[in-house]
Amino acid sequence: MSKAWRSAAAYVALVLCLVGVHFVLADNPEAARSAAQAAVFEWKVPGIVCGLGLVSLLFSI
């Protein structure tokens, strides 16, 4: 596997971890210390951040 593919695979793995945490927090909303903390793992924030990170990945490989 080329270096670029390995970097992309590692990034996708990190994003999948965030998806997993989203579902954990969705099932346990009382776990967060505040509404703002819970909102960080709703789809919007990780979606935007990971999308921008994907663009950054292109500049880093």
Partner: protein
């Protein structure tokens, strides 16, 4: 910013261990200063840490998300635009560290470290210093070993500072 092929030790094991050591230093000083107890009281919370066992996945994901937000969204693009395209590779290390240092200051400056020192004095200093070391460590690891290593460093730190300390 291309990284040489490094093994799992360089990308995961060592960054995790270094982060855990930094978290242990922060924890150790907090046991003496009781700084987090003061913070929790100010926020009317029993603790600043999320309760076990959900602390594990939430801080794990939080470490990844924060690393991407603070460092991975802007640093590679700015490095590429300034060092690679504009300066044609001249002073690339200086460009990286200038941009990286500015980004490393974002969390300490926006999470209230300075105000906390102004308000509470010496008790807030160790935590602010650890915050700076955490962020500069991530900038260093992002350059040396890549995004996974930078994430692993923060995960190691959170594992001790938030998860283990949350159990004490």
């Amino acid at each position: 910013m291309g990284h040489p092929d490094l093994g799992l030790n360089a990308k995961i094991t060592w960054p995790l261990a270094l982060g855990a050591v930094l978290g242990a230093v922060d924890l150790g000083t907090d046991l003496y200063t009781h700084w987090t107890r003061t913070m929790a009281a100010e926020m009317h919370l029993p603790s600043i840490h999320i309760a076990w066992p959900l602390s594990v996945p939430i801080y794990f994901g939080g470490a990844i998300l924060v690393t991407i937000i603070y460092f991975f969204v802007l640093l590679p693009f700015l490095y590429w635009a300034i060092a690679v395209k504009w300066l044609k590779g001249r002073g690339e290390a200086a460009v990286y560290w200038t941009v990286g240092s500015l980004l490393a200051l974002v969390e300490p400056l926006t999470q209230g470290d300075i105000q906390a020192i102004q308000q509470h004095g010496a008790a807030a200093v160790p935590s602010a210093v650890c915050d700076l070391l955490l962020n500069f460590g991530q900038v260093w690891l992002l350059r040396r070993s890549g995004l996974v290593a930078a994430c692993a460093f923060r995960i190691g730190y959170y594992a001790v500072w938030h998860v283990v300390y949350g159990l004490i």
